[in-house]
C-alpha cells in the first residue's frame, strides 16, 4: 500500500506515525512545502521571543523519520489527478498513490483591505510569516493588531517582548467575546491593560495608509481615528488551505467536505485537520475544527480507517487551553459566551483579578455542563468524568480539590469557591 500524505503538520504527522504503528509494510510519504521536518506551529511565538530555537520546536529528532521509514519530501503539490491517482509537484515530479491524505492546514483570512500588501502588514501562520515578522519588526516602535483572538494576543505578547507598543483593534465589546463570557473577557482585558497593551473595543479597521507607497505608516479605524504604526498584524482567523484543489473533482465548500470517517467524496482520498469540513454536524459543534488537539485526534482516527479498521471520528468532551500573557486558561465542556435559558452559570473571581472559575450546569437536573478556569490548572480526567457522568453542581463544588493540578504549595481555592457558591442566592 502506497500512502501519500500532504501536509506535515500535527494532523498529517500523527496520521503517518499511527499508520506506521499499525502497518509496518505500507510505503508512507509525507509531502509538505513549509519545512522538511515536523515542527510545532504552536511554538512560533516562542521562537520570536527567544524562548526556543527552531530546533527546539521539533517534537522528533531528525533520525526518527528514516528509522520509521516515513519518507519526507519538501515540495508543493500543484495538482491532483484523481483519475490516475497521481500528484504533480512544483518540481514537475509526478507521484502515484493508493491512498491520499489531505492535511493541508489553514491559511490566514484576508479581507482585501486596500494596502494589505504594503511592507509591514502581515498575518502569522507559518515559518515564512515568522521570518517576515522578524524583518518587519526590527527597529520599530509601534504596532497595531486587528482581531482579538488567540493568535492576536500571541502576536501582542511577541511584539511586547521586543518593547514595541501594541494597540489591538477588537470588533466586539470585550476581548475574544465570541468565545468567552463577559467576566473572563473583562479579566483578560484588564491583564493585557496592565501589560501596557492598548485595547480598542468596538473598533474596526477602515484603511491602511502609507506615505512612501512601500511601508505601512498608519491606520484609520471606522471611527476615523488615526493610529501611527510601522507594523500591522492581521489576525482575523484562518480558513482551509485548499487552493490547489479548486479545479479537482473533490467536493469543497469552505473546507474539504468529509463524512464522519474523514472520507472525501472520492474513494481513497481522505482529509483531516484544519482543512477538513464535516458534512454533517451535531448542533453546537463546529463544522471546521482549527485546533492542535482536534488535528491530532483526527490524524489518529484516520490512521485506523486507512489501515482497514474503519473508525468514526469522535471529538469526545470538548476541551481547550490557552495563555494570555501570564494567565493560563483551561476549558472543559462547552461553555457558551452567553448561557441558554435552560442553563445556569456560577462564576467566582479572586480579589486579585487574575484567577477565576466558572461552572455551567443545567437548571433542571443541576448536571454539570462545563468549566472555565483562569489561573487554575485542573485535571482533564476529572473534569471529563464529571461532565460525562452528569454530576450535580453541588457534588462538583464539594469535590473540586480532586481536580486541582496547580504546582505543590500553591493556594487551593476550592474552599473559597465553595463558600462563594453556597452564599450565592441564584444557586
Amino acid at each position: 500500500m502506497n500512502i501519500i500524505i500532504i501536509g506535515n503538520g500535527i494532523t498529517g504527522i500523527t496520521c503517518a506515525r499511527n499508520i506506521r504503528k499499525i502497518n509496518s509494510d505500507a510505503t508512507i510519504t509525507v509531502i509538505s512545502e513549509e519545512s522538511k521536518h515536523f515542527y510545532s506551529r504552536t511554538a512560533l511565538m516562542y521562537m520570536y521571543m527567544g524562548h526556543m530555537k527552531y530546533e527546539n520546536t521539533k517534537p522528533y529528532e531528525d533520525w526518527f523519520w528514516s528509522k520509521n521509514r516515513i519518507n519526507l519530501i519538501q515540495a508543493t503539490v500543484n495538482h491532483l489527478d484523481t483519475v490516475n491517482k497521481s500528484l504533480k509537484l512544483d518540481d514537475s515530479r509526478i507521484l502515484n498513490y493508493d491512498k491520499l491524505v489531505l492535511a493541508t492546514g489553514s491559511i490566514p483570512n484576508n479581507f482585501g483591505f486596500p494596502g494589505e500588501d504594503l511592507n509591514g502588514v502581515q498575518a502569522l501562520y507559518n515559518l515564512q510569516d515568522l521570518e517576515k515578522m522578524e524583518k518587519n519588526t526590527s527597529n520599530i516602535s509601534a504596532a497595531v493588531i486587528v482581531g482579538g483572538g488567540l493568535i492576536g494576543i500571541e502576536m501582542a505578547e511577541m511584539l511586547h517582548s521586543r518593547n514595541i507598543s501594541v494597540t489591538m483593534l477588537i470588533r466586539e465589546n470585550a476581548y475574544w467575546a465570541n468565545a468567552l463570557p463577559q467576566e473572563e473577557a473583562q479579566l483578560i482585558g484588564n491583564h493585557l491593560h496592565k501589560h501596557g497593551i492598548t485595547l480598542k473595543f468596538n473598533t474596526e479597521l477602515k484603511e491602511i495608509r502609507t506615505i512612501d507607497q512601500v511601508n505601512v505608516h498608519s491606520i484609520v479605524t471606522k471611527q476615523e481615528e488615526t493610529i501611527d504604526c510601522q507594523f500591522l498584524g492581521i489576525t482575523t482567523g484562518v480558513k482551509p488551505n485548499i487552493k490547489f484543489l479548486k479545479n479537482s473533482s473533490i467536493e469543497i465548500e469552505k473546507g474539504i467536505l468529509v463524512n464522519e470517517f474523514l472520507e472525501t467524496n472520492i474513494p481513497d482520498i481522505f482529509a483531516a485537520g484544519d482543512c477538513a469540513q464535516f458534512r454533517y454536524v451535531k448542533t453546537g459543534e463546529a463544522p471546521i475544527e482549527q485546533l492542535w488537539y482536534t488535528g491530532k485526534m483526527q490524524g489518529e482516527t484516520l490512521a485506523n480507517t486507512i489501515c482497514g479498521n474503519k473508525t468514526t471520528y469522535d471529538r469526545g468532551i470538548w476541551f481547550n487551553s490557552a495563555k494570555f500573557f501570564d494567565l493560563e486558561f483551561q476549558t472543559y465542556g462547552k461553555i457558551l459566551p452567553e448561557i441558554t435559558p435552560e442553563q445556569e452559570s456560577f462564576y467566582w473571581e479572586h480579589e486579585n483579578g487574575k484567577i477565576s472559575f466558572r461552572a455551567n450546569y443545567n437548571k433542571s437536573d443541576r448536571s454539570i455542563i462545563g468549566f472555565n478556569f483562569i489561573g487554575i490548572r485542573f485535571r482533564q480526567v476529572i473534569a471529563e468524568q464529571w461532565i460525562r457522568e452528569q454530576k450535580e453542581i453541588e457534588y462538583v463544588i464539594d469535590n473540586l480539590k480532586q481536580g486541582w493540578f496547580d504546582p505543590e504549595f500553591s493556594d487551593a481555592y476550592d474552599k473559597k469557591i465553595a463558600k462563594s457558591f453556597s452564599s450565592n442566592p441564584i444557586n
Binding site: 511554538a43 516562542y46 527546539n56 520546536t57 518593547n163 488537539y293 490557552a322 490548572r377 480526567v381
Partner: protein, 439 residues
C-alpha cells in the same frame, strides 16, 4: 495617535538596573583578580569588603527588575543572547570558570592573595587562617545566595520554585558553610551534614570513619548520621518524594546548578544519544565508587595485606578523576556550554542511586494532564537534565525518569498547565491517558 499612559510595563525598563548590577559584579571580579595578584595579602580587609559588597550589591541590583515585573516566568531573549545561547560571552565565562577550577585545584599558590582576603572571615568563623577550600566555599555560598535571589525573583509566581530555592540556600549557607566552620572552631572534625556517601565518597571510607570515631562522641554521631542518611533516610525519602528531596532541596551541587546555573539550563543536550551516554557514564561512576569503597574495606579488614597501596591508588584515582576533574572543572566550568547539571546528570553517583530508586520504587512522577499538550517544547528546552519531557507529555504519558531531579521547571514553564510533580500511590503511575468518546 498613541496612548502612552497605558504602556506601563515596558519590558526593557529593567535594563539599566541589570547593567549596573552586571557592572558591579564585574568590579567584584576585578577586585578578586587584583587581590590574587598580591594586593589581598597586604590589604585583606579592604579587598574582602570590596569583593563582598560589590558582588552582593551587584546581584541584588541585577535582580530588582525580576521583582518589579508583573509575576510570571519570562524566558524572553534567552536564545538570542550570546551570554545564554553558547555565544562568545558564554564561552568566555566557561573558560574563566574552568580556568578558576584548574588554578584552585592544582595551582592554588596563584590564588594566595585572594585566599588571604578571606582570613578575617575565616578566623572569625573557624579560628584559623583561610585556605583555598575556604575561599572556594565562601565564593560558592555567595554565588548560591546571590543567584538564588535572582532565581526567586524570576520564578516568584511559582511557590514550589521559591520554597525549594530558599531550602538550597539554607542548606548551603548553614550545613555546607557555617556548621563545618563552627565545628572546626570547636576543634571538632569538619563535617558536612548535608552530604552523604556516595556523593561525599570518603564518608564511608575506612580512614574517614576511623578518624571520626577517634575524635569522640560528636565524631561517632557523624558516622552514625552518615550511615543512617545513606542507608535508611535516603531510600525512605526517595520512595516518598523522589530524588528531588535531595537534588533540588538539599544538595550543594544542586544548589549551585539551580542558582548560578539557571541561566544555562536550556543548553543541556536533549538527544537520545545524550541519554545513552548519560546512562553509561553515571552508572559507571556508581560502580567505580562502590568498588573503591569495597576495596578499601577489604583492604582494611585484611590489614592492608591483600592490596597494599593499590586500593589507596584506586581511591586517589577516583578523587582526582571524579571528585575534582568531573564535579568541579567539567561539572561547573562547562555550565554555559553544556547546561547547568552536567555533573548531576553524567557524573554524580548519588544521583545514580537516587535515580534507580526513583525509577523503580517511588511514588514520585510528573503527571501529564490528559491531552492538553500542544507539543510546544518549552518543557524539554528548559529541562536541565536533558529529558525530552515533551516526548512523554504529548503521548499523555507520565514522566518517570531516573535522572529527573524534580526541579519543577518543566511544569513551571508549560504554557498549557500540562505537567505536575506529584507523590501519589505507586500503582498506576506508568498508566497513560486515553481519550474516551462522547457517547
Amino acid at each position: 495617535m498613541q496612548d502612552h499612559s497605558l504602556s506601563l510595563a515596558k519590558p526593557t525598563e529593567g535594563l539599566l538596573s541589570q547593567k549596573i548590577g552586571a557592572s558591579l559584579i564585574a568590579a567584584a571580579l576585578l577586585c578578586a583578580i587584583i587581590a590574587a595578584f598580591g594586593q589581598g595579602e597586604t590589604q585583606s580587609v579592604l579587598f574582602f569588603g570590596l569583593i563582598i559588597v560589590f558582588s552582593v550589591a551587584g546581584g541584588i541590583i541585577f535582580s530588582i527588575p525580576y521583582f518589579k515585573a508583573i509575576p510570571g516566568i519570562k524566558n524572553n531573549g534567552i536564545m538570542h543572547s550570546p551570554a545564554t545561547n553558547r555565544g562568545g560571552i558564554a564561552w568566555g565565562i566557561a573558560i574563566l570558570m574552568t580556568g578558576f577550577y584548574i588554578i584552585l585545584y592544582w595551582f592554588p599558590n596563584y590564588l594566595e592573595g585572594l585566599i588571604r582576603t578571606m582570613d578575617p572571615l575565616s578566623s572569625m568563623l573557624r579560628n584559623k587562617p583561610s585556605d583555598q577550600w575556604f575561599l572556594y566555599g565562601t565564593l560558592y555560598t555567595l554565588a548560591v545566595i546571590i543567584m538564588g535571589i535572582r532565581f526567586i525573583g524570576k520564578y516568584r509566581s511559582n511557590r514550589y520554585q521559591v520554597f525549594r530555592t530558599l531550602s538550597v540556600m539554607f542548606f548551603q549557607l548553614g550545613f555546607a558553610f557555617l556548621i563545618p566552620a563552627f565545628l572546626l572552631k570547636l576543634n571538632q572534625p569538619e563535617f558536612y551534614f548535608s552530604y552523604f556517601w556516595p556523593l561525599k565518597y570518603s564518608y564511608l571510607f575506612p580512614n574517614d570513619i576511623d578518624y571520626l570515631i577517634q575524635s569522640g562522641n560528636i565524631g561517632v554521631f557523624m558516622v552514625f548520621w552518615g550511615l543512617v542518611m545513606t542507608f535508611i533516610a535516603t531510600p525512605i525519602l526517595t520512595y516518598n518524594y523522589g530524588k528531588r528531596w535531595y537534588c533540588s532541596w538539599v544538595c550543594g551541587c544542586g544548589a549551585l546548578a539551580e542558582t548560578l546555573g539557571d541561566p544555562y539550563r536550556q543548553n543541556s543536550d536533549k538527544s537520545l544519544k545524550a541519554w545513552k551516554v548519560e546512562r553509561w557514564m553515571v552508572h559507571s561512576v556508581l560502580v567505580f565508587v562502590v568498588l573503591t569503597t569495597a576495596l578499601l574495606w577489604l583492604n582494611s579488614w585484611k590489614n592492608g595485606t591483600i592490596l597494599g597501596d593499590a586500593s589507596g591508588l584506586f581511591s586517589q584515582c577516583y578523587g582526582f578523576l571524579i571528585g575534582s576533574v568531573f564535579s568541579g572543572v567539567i561539572g561547573t566550568g562547562f555550565y554555559p556550554i553544556m547546561g547547568s547539571r552536567v555533573w548531576c546528570r553524567f557524573g554524580c553517583p548519588m544521583a545514580a542511586i537516587l535515580g534507580l530508586f526513583q525509577r523503580f520504587k517511588s511514588k514520585f512522577r510528573i503527571t501529564t494532564n490528559g491531552a492538553q499538550c500542544i507539543s510546544c517544547g518549552n518543557c524539554s528546552t528548559y529541562c536541565e537534565m536533558g529529558i525530552d519531557v515533551r516526548a512523554y507529555a504529548q503521548k499523555g504519558e507520565n514522566i518517570i525518569r531516573a535522572s529527573c531531579v524534580g526541579c519543577g521547571i518543566c511544569s513551571a514553564v508549560c504554557p498549557r498547565g500540562v505537567l505536575n510533580l506529584e507523590n501519589l500511590a505507586e500503582e498506576g503511575r506508568f498508566e497513560s491517558y486515553t481519550r474516551q468518546g462522547n457517547k
